[in-house]
Each structure stands twice: as structure tokens, then as C-alpha cells.
């Protein structure tokens, strides 16, 4: 029931966002039509961070409470997160090509997103390379915690490293109201989608664990 509401809400918001992006919002003057990918790129970047926050919280709770539901939450969020991070990198590169003339410019935010993506990869690799499943969960939790704490330092270092920094105009009122509304609706639409995917994945993983438990009981 809860999932159905989320599903329809996400669909409605998604269609609204599409309408706003392609019909309602005016095209940006200097960058032209390319600019519209901005409304996809920002939600992706935001969700790559939100997913990692949930991974972090889930990981801490798993290490403290040792209940597998927290590991399931962290793992599911990481799965959604790596998809959003990949999309953030791809949309970032597509945006950079016409604007800067290159696919990849070692821009601070792109660079930190790349390192974040590598952290997600590490998270999955320790899990699959661990000798036992419970151990993999613990190791992944350690990576989730250390990686999240590292994020601000990564952002700080990459920002200081590359002087060229597109000013954070979004929060300084530099964005036209119509653009801000479009951006916020788009962010909300994808955030609802993220929670839908997360709930879906968590319930699937819990079922898997339950089936496994029953199998062991039977054999």
C-alpha cells in the first residue's frame, strides 16, 4: 500500500518534472539547450550523497546492534547509490563536453563524485570478497563508515586543488525562480523514486534472507 502511494507519487512528480524541464522552464541564455541536463545532474548528485548517508547510518547501526536488517538497509542503499553516482558522472560528463569542450575537466565536484564512486565500488568488493557472508557485512559497514567520514575531506581537498569552481549560485538566489522550482520538483521526484527503490530492495532482501533461513531449517 505504502509502496503503491510512493509509486504513483513518483510517477506524477516525474511527469511534472519532465513537463517543467522541457516545456515550462526557459532555456538558459549562454549555455542553451544543453543546460537542461542540469535538472537531471543535480538530483543525481544529491542522491549519490543521500544514499551514502543512509549507508553510513545503516552501517553504524549494524555494527552497534548486530541486526541484519540494518545491513540490508545499508546494502540496498549502496546499490541505489552506485547507480545514481554513475548517472551523476555520466550527466556531468555530457554537460561538461559542450560547456568546457572536454568530457572530463577534473572539476572539484566531478572529481569528488569519482572518488565517491570508487568508494561505492570498494564497498561492494569487500562484501563479495569476504570469506563468510556475515564477515562481508561487517567489512562493508567499516568501509561505509570510513568512506562517509572521508567525504568532506575529499571535497575540501579537491576544491582547494582545482581553483576553477562554478560558484554555488543555486543557494545564493542566482537562479531564476522558474528554474529553481523546476530543479526542486526534479529533486523531489528523484528522491521519492530513491525511497521507492530502497523500500522495494529492502523487502526483497529480507525475503531472500527469510527463504535462506527456511532452507537451512529444512535441510
Amino acid at each position: 500500500m505504502k509502496r503503491n502511494i510512493l509509486l504513483w507519487l513518483s510517477l506524477a512528480l516525474m511527469v511534472t518534472a519532465l513537463y517543467l524541464v522541457f516545456v515550462y522552464v526557459p532555456t538558459e541564455q549562454t549555455m542553451g539547450i544543453v543546460y537542461k541536463i542540469f535538472y537531471l545532474m543535480v538530483p543525481m548528485g544529491w542522491l549519490s550523497l543521500l544514499s551514502f548517508l543512509i549507508v553510513f547510518v545503516g552501517s553504524i547501526l549494524y555494527l552497534v546492534k548486530r541486526e541484519s536488517k540494518w545491513d540490508i538497509l545499508a546494502h540496498s542503499s549502496a546499490e541505489a547509490g552506485i547507480i545514481f553516482t554513475t548517472l551523476a558522472l555520466l550527466t556531468g560528463a555530457i554537460w561538461a563536453k559542450p560547456v568546457w569542450g572536454v568530457w572530463w575537466a577534473w572539476e572539484p565536484r566531478l572529481t569528488s563524485t569519482l572518488i565517491l564512486w570508487l568508494l561505492y565500488l570498494a564497498y561492494f568488493m569487500v562484501r563479495s570478497l569476504a570469506t563468510e557472508e556475515s564477515r562481508g557485512a561487517t567489512f562493508a559497514a567499516v568501509v561505509g563508515i570510513v568512506g562517509f567520514i572521508d567525504l568532506p575531506i575529499i571535497v575540501l581537498a579537491t576544491t582547494l586543488w582545482r581553483g576553477m569552481h562554478p560558484e554555488p549560485i543555486i543557494f545564493q538566489g542566482g537562479l531564476a525562480p522558474s528554474m529553481l522550482v523546476t530543479l526542486l520538483i526534479s529533486i523531489t521526484a528523484f528522491t521519492v523514486l530513491y525511497f521507492l527503490l530502497l523500500i522495494q530492495r529492502v523487502s526483497m532482501k529480507s525475503d531472500e534472507a527469510e527463504v535462506k533461513r527456511l532452507k537451512i531449517m529444512l535441510s
Binding site: L129, I145, V146, D150, A157, L160, W161
Partner: protein
């Protein structure tokens, strides 16, 4: 007091076994020399070019040497089943972490001093300045703070040697960037004030990850 007594016992054990076997320190040194020589082939020999790329070469060398030596921190323990012995000792997991961390720190600093000597000799650069030494010591503390945690984690996985660099390198990326930038400034004669923001990042990383690793190390090695 008891805490440090036990810590030093573990560090001393590592130092002793390192000195007795010699093979690890020797192979890491040869590896370091080879990396420096290979980079020289890649970038040519002109002095101006060297001043430009030297900080990068230095820190890639140290990062690789770090991965090699940190891997050796726990693999021998696992191979001889010494880790079980160590954990059966009347010492807390935190003691084991600090002891192993200091052992690795000592080991890496020795490697780095010799690498810097090779550097000064081959590239004719003033690398033995107080600035470069400070950067090296601070960054190495960051390396071993997370490296010891991940080394203990990696040794319990299927692909031991492969797991450490995959975890270690993205996490230490910010301090590698900072160390390279700070060394670059130091080599071009910048005063301390010019380096401060980079040194602050490295210092903050060290403090944060010494605490975090100290707190979660127990989860990594528990059986």
C-alpha cells in the same frame, strides 16, 4: 600506563621480526628504487621537468610502497596463525591496533628516509627540508592510521593483496592530493604560511582517522 606498555611490546615484536627477516624491508626498498627509476624514463631527465613532476613521483612512490608494506603488516601474522595468538593475548583490540599502527609507521618512515636519500641523489632536489619532512611524517601517519585498519580487513578476504589498494587508495586520495600540492609548494621555496591550508587538511585527516580506526578496529579482527 599498562596500555602503552603492551602497545610497545607489539611494536617491538614487529620491529624485531622486520629486522630479523630483512626480506620485506629489502624488497620494499628495491621496489621503491625501481618506481623512481621507471618514472625517470617516463618524464625525461631535464632539471625543469623534474622540479615539475618530482612531488607527484614522490607521493606515488610512497603510496605504492605504503600499500606493499601495509599488506605485510598482517599477512605474515595470518600465514603463521600468529593473529590468533595475538588476539588470545591479554591485550585489548585497541592495543593491537595502536601497536601494529606504530610498527607500520616506523617501517614506512625508514623506507621513506631512504627513498628521500635516493631522490636527493638522483634528482638533485632539496628534499631534506623541514617542510618536506613535516609533510612526509604527517601524511605517513594518515596512511598507517587507515592502512592498519584496512590491512587487518584485507587479510580476512579471499584476494588479500588486491583488496588493500582498492580500499586504501580512494580513502587516502585527499591526503595524497594535499601532500603533492604541499610538496610542490615546499620545493618551490614557499614559506610555511603558504602550506598551512594543505597541512591542516592532512592534520585533520590524521586526527579523524586515528580516532575512527581506533574505535572500529575491533569489529574487523573479531573472529
Amino acid at each position: 600506563m599498562r596500555f602503552w606498555h603492551k602497545v610497545i611490546a607489539i611494536t617491538w615484536k614487529d620491529a624485531l621480526s622486520g629486522m630479523r627477516t630483512k626480506e620485506i624491508i629489502f624488497s620494499v626498498l628495491v621496489f621503491t628504487l625501481l618506481v623512481i627509476v621507471i618514472f625517470n624514463f617516463a618524464f625525461g631527465t631535464s632539471q625543469e621537468m623534474m622540479e615539475l613532476v618530482a612531488p607527484g613521483i614522490l607521493w606515488v612512490t610512497f603510496a605504492f610502497a605504503g600499500v606493499l608494506s601495509l599488506n605485510r603488516s598482517f599477512i605474515p601474522e595470518k600465514e603463521q596463525d600468529c593473529l590468533e595468538g595475538l588476539m588470545a593475548c591479554p591485550a585489548s583490540r585497541e592495543v593491537i591496533y595502536v601497536g601494529k599502527m606504530l610498527g607500520s609507521l616506523l617501517f614506512m618512515l625508514i623506507i621513506e628516509v631512504i627513498a628521500l636519500l635516493i631522490f636527493a641523489f638522483l634528482f638533485n632536489l632539496p628534499v631534506f627540508s623541514p617542510q618536506i619532512i613535516t609533510i612526509t611524517v604527517l601524511t605517513t601517519i594518515g596512511f598507517v592510521a587507515v592502512g592498519t585498519l584496512f590491512s587487518a580487513l584485507a587479510v580476512n578476504t579471499k584476494a588479500r593483496e588486491m583488496v588493500l589498494p582498492i580500499l586504501f587508495l580512494p580513502i587516502v586520495a585527499p591526503i595524497i592530493i594535499s601532500a603533492i600540492k604541499a610538496s610542490e609548494l615546499a620545493l618551490s621555496g614557499e614559506p610555511w604560511s603558504g602550506l598551512s591550508s594543505w597541512l591542516q587538511i592532512i592534520g585533520a585527516f590524521d586526527v579523524i582517522f586515528l580516532i575512527v580506526s581506533f574505535l572500529i578496529f575491533a569489529f574487523v579482527i573479531e573472529e
